[in-house]
Subunit: 476 residues, 2 copies
Amino acid sequence: MPRPPDRRTLGELKAAVGDGSWLDSPADVAPYLSDFRRLYHGAAALVLLPRNVAEVAEILRICNRDEVAVVPHGGNTSYCGGATPDEAGTEVVLALRRLNRVRQIDAVDYSMVIEAGCTLAEAQAAARGAERLFPLSLGSEGTAQIGGNLSTNAGGTAVLRYGMMRDLVLGLEVVLADGRIFEGLKSLRKDNTGYDVKSLFVGAEGTLGVITAACLKLFPAAADTATALVGIGSPQDALDLLARLRTAAGDQVTSFELMPRLGVELTVQHVPGVADPLSQNTPWYLLIELTSPNPRQDLLTLLTATLEEAAARGTVVDAMLATSTAQAQAMWKLRESVPEAQRRHGASLKHDVSVPVSAIPKLIEQGAALVRRLAPEGDVISYGHAGDGNLHFNVSQRPGSEIKSFLARGPALELAMFDLVESLGGSISAEHGIGRLKAAEFARRADPVELSLMHALKRTLDPKGIMNPGKVLCVP
Amino acid sequence: MPRPPDRRTLGELKAAVGDGSWLDSPADVAPYLSDFRRLYHGAAALVLLPRNVAEVAEILRICNRDEVAVVPHGGNTSYCGGATPDEAGTEVVLALRRLNRVRQIDAVDYSMVIEAGCTLAEAQAAARGAERLFPLSLGSEGTAQIGGNLSTNAGGTAVLRYGMMRDLVLGLEVVLADGRIFEGLKSLRKDNTGYDVKSLFVGAEGTLGVITAACLKLFPAAADTATALVGIGSPQDALDLLARLRTAAGDQVTSFELMPRLGVELTVQHVPGVADPLSQNTPWYLLIELTSPNPRQDLLTLLTATLEEAAARGTVVDAMLATSTAQAQAMWKLRESVPEAQRRHGASLKHDVSVPVSAIPKLIEQGAALVRRLAPEGDVISYGHAGDGNLHFNVSQRPGSEIKSFLARGPALELAMFDLVESLGGSISAEHGIGRLKAAEFARRADPVELSLMHALKRTLDPKGIMNPGKVLCVP
């Protein structure tokens, strides 16, 4: 069990980074104490802003020796309180944002070595500068940092084609809980020398060590893109269209995003500059994007033909194909503004869940029935990455209803939603992680053998339990 | 340290599987005691042929209780002695071949649950039966089993497009060293609930537990394929062509295999039915394959145009495009017969190594210089998966030279080759694993922090050290 740091420990930690690289006044420390969703309000003994891996190693060496808890902190965009210290005021926040160099970029090897504190947008820009693509893409990419993307195994809107963050990693540099440095920044496509140690740290949410840099996979830049907003009648129609699109275009299907009518309506209503480009209202919408590095591919013709065939079969009701980048961007703005529209509309109950792709219609139908029964003041807005089986099954407070009684529905609805997801072979956290928010639920629902393996790994890699305590795993 | 099994233990193990499912006569046991390359000749106390996961669990429960070593055994195609018991005769061989059911195949979810004892060819056929593709492809696919492919993180000829075996896994069922069953057969594309436990077992070569089944990713079947045999002047020309192909066709470049002139010559000479389809001799050859699920893609035109552009620039000397499946198969037969041709030609010194893709020309040039100096009786045949930075840098005994003195060159050449690979940021085992063959070299060369993490993981998951001792990690 970690202990409060004494004056000597705090002094050594400050000396490890030097003046100008630590914060301890309440005003300076405040931005590090609340999460993005304002679910948690913690306290911290000290905030450290190291500039390089050696300083991170020294911090962990001291903290491990003195059994002081460390909370790694990136862009602070976690939806699960994963980067927020607890309320005791005895934890040290380790902010990675000053480790923000692109160390190396190699177009021939399609790889890039980048530090944890770079934002995802900076990583994307660095790849573009070398005429390459770093494909991870998500709403908070201007703020979220690579270290957080790695530690939460981030997903987003291009997973169908490129996979999650774990799939995009060739190598890692990690400072272990005891301050030793695991120097695994390989750029190899094939390396079968022993256990896959690096994958353990991806998705571990800073509970096994601190990722300080990564060697990431790059891809050929897209030279042909076809984007469409498609109106459909039901989630089952979405699956039919997905199957036909994948058969026609394979993994050139990069994004396949589902939205309900209400999501489109709220977004048009609440977010300036967003319009619904379709001429008729349909119950469901898809934002589909195909990409290829081959400029002569003519994906627009391929997508048009597939949508016309689907329309002839009755699967597609209406569709608009983007004929300019501006039109495509407007469609993406519609999709990416759904969370903001929900925020402006009122309170929300959120569930980031996944099921096998074929179970998406069941999840939507049975989930809606649960909301009618358990949160009748709410309207379902289930949207997201249908092509990956991942929906943000959210419930928006209906205008005029009472917020307190609506929010009070949360716990019972969440339990029922998680039961439903489990019954469909799904996951209670598709892409946002466990953090503090879902740690208890995860402990209750995880397979006991798998959970005991995770606790064993935690004890092995962080025997003193100093790394981000209370996140992912509940202390036994 | 494991101990010899006593009569009681052997009796319990036999009872766990029942009569007809164990072997202990020398004649019956013999096929399990030598590896494919005949490098090792071991002995075994007993060979067990369980039929289901419950029997595997009972075997491990008994062996763990009594501290008896277990050697998991699949198709026995390891190049590194990974599935062969040691010489003491105290180890128990656990053959997985009777766990050979395809449990489930789901075309909509693009996934398949298959048991460890199915051959890779059976897995491919099952996917084809559902109009899907399981893309792992390698020379021994008719014999190699899925459990071995998983345990060695197998590679092969389609890694450029689809990744290694680890990239193709959605979920695993594993019997742990103590007999508990990790039931992780999820078919989810996104699941961020805790640590990536399953990846630890992939590539662990049976030293952390026994994989009994896997949920594997499927892909759309290819409906358009373009295959070409291309004559080029140098490995650098190969890299130039690869870069242009990836820019033109992205990940539709499925295979990009390099062969030297001598490899083609020996294959035509030694393997019946193999011909060189090109009209002129060139120093190097590429077998290139593009695939797409879109039948209207016209990849042949795309490949032809790219090769013509390259010929105009002087990068491509000669090329033959397959205009029929038979022609494409003949090209693949040429490529896949290289190991057989080497075997028929004489003794070989083999190195399965990888470097960053951009370092392939240096590896070939500097490796050839090492062979001239350290194994002058040998001719270099460095061939393989150039698109992944993975070469089988092999040396064939020159006819008329003395085999003993040639083979005596092996250890010194291997050391120098591994030094070279290390200096280029590469790996001493790209896709064949460590097994017993490379365990000492790996221990000597691995990063000490990474190696200590691996030993810690081994102690955590297999505290009594019963799982495939002496493979991957040397006993400390």
